[in-house]
Symmetry: C2
Subunit: 295 residues, 2 copies
């Protein structure tokens, strides 16, 4: 199939999928978003799940990133080790259907002390770079279920570190002793900043989380501030890990706007400059750049 | 009713309750344990739930500690502020039925920076003290859903700090990206100690948790070591908080034996001496000491 006449880009995660029809020359077309993440696809069900996407968005070549290439997905696309460039990522694309249905691999990082993996964010990183939305050198923060702190050097991803902030916040919200305090959305403000500064400066996260409840019980904190403080506390501890590596200039914060707004507010509270990049825009730019290498 | 002729001691938690018949002179009698924690008791259901205990263990005076005295329990028994002695705890007992059914209050700690609460552990603390199982000065570690680090001075609880270790481990085990790695029991050993030392010395807990999965995916750690490493990591971070206050001599580790064994192993790996005290033994000793004040 001829990729230059248009294709479909799919961001296929664990619990959701988003698919975008992209016309010739990159013109945007129809989209679909649903909860058919990889865990919702039955064994052997990926050909049908992909046929459904083509039925809705057209019979075109299809490029997929995210957990669809993991060992729980359709076909495993082995991690490309860092340092890695956009070209190295493209060179390791795996074909689910030769020439027609492509799976983008994730990235891995290993050194003597650490091991880390990502799947999905790499398409956004190289997309933002290709679209001129961020420089080829610097620190990128990509919040989500798992936040990724990514070091870019000369247009390559040289190292990264994953922090489980989003998932921990969700677990605490869903069924912990703090649940009833965490149901409202977290918003920047004084309570959020106090949490960020505590998380950044202290190292007692698992104790301070319980204090959130104790302060409310003992009348030392307002119940309605608990969610912002807790979010700030977890993000502050996250920044503490991510900002260990010295960074110069702006930190790029990429992802869903409601999350990039929180992380950018946290970075500013900590004295850093932050530039937000929309994750969907970056994904589409990345998918187009990869598709160009497949024509 | 005459407490000296025997009574029933109830340790009534959020998800479980344990009741013990105690004969004249403190002789042990029948026991019951079930999952009728306070969250399983319907509104207005405590008189019937207590009548059920008396139906099984005898029509005797009854002393209850734990979450039954919280704002989600039967009758709220307000927290006694630290520093607090066994006598001060006894003086603030609340009667659900005058002279016949007693609720032991919890303890609170407040200073300029911190707020904390406990309910249930205080009966064990003063019980271990009354039974000569621990000295009146020193540091006590009480693991459970929430670990409590308690400073005893001259037989009083002067301060304490709660760490959410047990609850976080349960959340990660039940439904996180690490779930499939955490189903086996955690046991002391090399992987556990490596986790403890990392948690003690580093401050990147929320990132290191994700590394557990990445190391297995990338072949850098054995899948079967993940649960012990993760348990060690959380307990190490817990020790990091608890050991901030200088402690001399042995640290008393009190609670359920399977948990005190893990914490004692962690403390020894960190270079500390630890003495384990069985929480049930301490609870019964504490209930008897409190009952003596009610006769």
């Amino acid at each position: 199939m001829d990729w230059s006449e248009g294709f479909i880009a799919v961001d296929w995660g664990t619990t959701n999928r988003r698919a975008y029809a992209i016309g010739a020359g990159g013109a945007p077309g129809d989209e679909l978003e649903d909860d058919k993440g990889i865990l919702a696809v039955p064994a052997g069900g990926f050909p049908a799940a992909v046929a459904e996407i083509r039925g809705r968005l057209g019979d075109r070549p299809l490029l997929m990133g995210g957990m669809v290439g993991s060992n729980r997905g359709w076909i495993e696309a082995p991690y490309v080790p860092c340092p890695a460039s956009a070209g190295e990522l493209a060179a390791h694309i795996v074909w689910a259907e030769e020439g027609r249905t492509a799976i983008v691999p994730g990235l891995s990082f290993l050194n003597d002390r650490r091991a880390d993996v990502m799947r999905g964010e790499e398409v956004q990183m190289f997309g933002a770079l290709a679209a001129g939305l961020m420089p080829g050198d610097g620190l990128v923060c990509h919040p989500g279920t798992h936040n990724k702190w990514v070091t870019m050097e000369g247009g390559r991803v040289t190292r990264f570190r994953t922090v489980m902030t989003g998932e921990l916040f969700s677990l605490l919200k869903e069924r912990s002793i703090l649940s009833d305090l965490l149901q409202a959305p977290a918003a920047p403000g004084a309570a959020f900043e106090a949490g960020v500064l505590h998380g950044l400066s202290d190292e007692d996260l698992t104790a301070e989380l319980f204090s959130v409840r104790a302060r409310v019980l003992l009348g030392r904190a307002a119940r309605e501030d608990a969610v912002a403080y807790t979010s700030g506390l977890l993000i502050g501890a996250d920044l503490r890990t991510g900002l260990r590596r010295s960074a110069e200039g702006e930190i790029v914060v990429m992802g869903r706007p409601e999350l990039t707004a929180l992380y950018a507010a946290a970075l500013r509270a900590a004295g850093w400059a932050a530039r937000e990049v929309d994750g969907e825009t970056a994904f589409l730019a990345g998918a187009k750049a990869l598709a160009e290498t497949l024509s």
